[in-house]
Subunit: 266 residues, 2 copies
């Protein structure tokens, strides 16, 4: 099958999304890709596949924190390979924690074994590049994410390399953010649609303290569950960077840059 | 790869979704599957693939109304075959118009040629079965859909066979509903997130007249773009049946009935 319509535009590359980490983050990325695409009719939208197999993929934080031995990268790589065989040439994964090199390198290696040429668009690199554009002269970047993402220093290292200063919530607040994400009683993973008011309040309180007590210039939502609960683009006069939304734009740019909406039109 | 987690539950069958008809309807179905699934953590969600290739698939209404010769069923069947080869054993398609036998039979025939055993869950049969449960003694069912869906009598025939009386908006209102769906200036296909107030108002006005002037017992949203704009489950004390939501529940039932949420918990 071929892309036979929208002949006035270049043929877009097919986007493959590794979903299921968690499921709502995959759906949130699809939504944001659609939202950022210039389209007046069905056929103008980009070719896209979402493969959401949450039951295949072991817990990422448990592996990174040494609580389990099974590397989730094996199954993530299997899904990437499946997407590539189905024709995806641009792949994204809406899960920051799974971008830890200990997981991602295993996954990419498995995908490379297919011999198919695929561009992997990193959510970490995309988000840090975007933050750098917001703060061309450097700045204090308030970072919210899972305990595992913070402990592996995924974002801290990338921000520092870009000349930015990562600023974390206090330890007890980080533990609360983790619960807002994964607590079975009120966390976003268990209650996504709608999100519980308790989870949202914890996330907003943490953002507020980053602004008021730690004087950050940007709040970076470095876990794809957080923007499911916090949809504001600005809080207390401070820009909020949603890494999922930035990934959506970078995937469109890699697929067919002509179809990326101007941010000012949203 | 295998489903290795959630060992306390039966292994679910993988759900394949033919998306892109339009793209937002595919995303809306994914959202409703997640919403209707009993899940406290990522691994409890069902395995699911969304293949959204809008550029591959010719316009369905144009074919059914004789304006083009190319049967979209060929490419739809190609996507079904791809989903089946990737392991989907339950397939759904969130587009009522594409369920017209002239399109669907060609698509299913192409999928059957794979030799893979797949259950196709019809949105039309699912919705009519649900309406029948709401109206066990028969009733007048107000039907909103595309002009092509109405002209091919997809829902009318199925409703009558179930002992229900289909009631359509007046012709000029049907033409307005079509514009609310596909007008490039304000229709849901062009403006989905958010929907334009003009499209939503046309759809609500049509529903109101079905209730007030034609005294229907149920409003059936027989086009998957409509529930993107009209999210109410009841209007003017009349139940609104969203065929996408009913399809989501039937797909979960076909995949793993133990994980279907009780409607009263939503």
């Amino acid at each position: 099958m071929v892309q036979r319509f929208a002949d006035h535009l270049p043929v877009p590359r097919t986007i493959g999304i590794v979903g299921g980490l968690g499921p709502y983050a995959g759906y949130d990325l699809v939504r944001k890709i659609f939202r950022w695409t210039k389209a007046g009719r069905d056929q103008d939208h980009l070719p896209l596949m979402l493969h959401s197999f949450p039951g295949w993929i072991p817990e990422r934080p448990a592996y990174l924190l040494g609580q389990t031995k099974e590397n989730p990268g094996e199954d993530i790589g299997g899904i990437m390979a499946q997407l590539a065989r189905d024709g995806a040439t641009v792949i994204g994964m809406p899960c920051n924690t799974a971008h830890s090199p200990r997981i991602l390198n295993v996954a990419l290696e498995r995908q490379h074994q297919t011999g198919l040429d695929v561009t992997f668009v990193s959510i970490i690199e995309s988000a840090v590049k975007h933050v750098r554009e917001l703060c061309p002269n450097g700045g204090r970047i308030g970072l919210m994410g899972t305990v595992a993402t913070l402990q592996t220093r995924l974002y801290q290292d990338a921000l520092e390399k870009a000349g930015l200063e990562p600023v974390l919530p206090d330890d007890d607040e980080c533990a609360l953010v983790q619960r807002a994400i994964s607590d079975p009683e009120f966390g976003v993973k268990a209650f996504s649609d709608p999100v519980s008011s308790k989870a949202r309040q914890i996330l907003l309180d943490t953002a507020r303290r980053l602004v008021e007590k730690k004087h950050v210039s940007v709040i970076l939502l470095g876990c794809t569950e957080i923007p499911v609960a916090v949809t504001e683009s600005s809080l207390w006069d401070t820009p909020v960077v949603d890494a999922t939304s930035v990934l959506a734009r970078e995937l469109i740019r890699a697929s067919c840059p002509e179809r990326l909406k101007d941010p000012s039109t949203l």
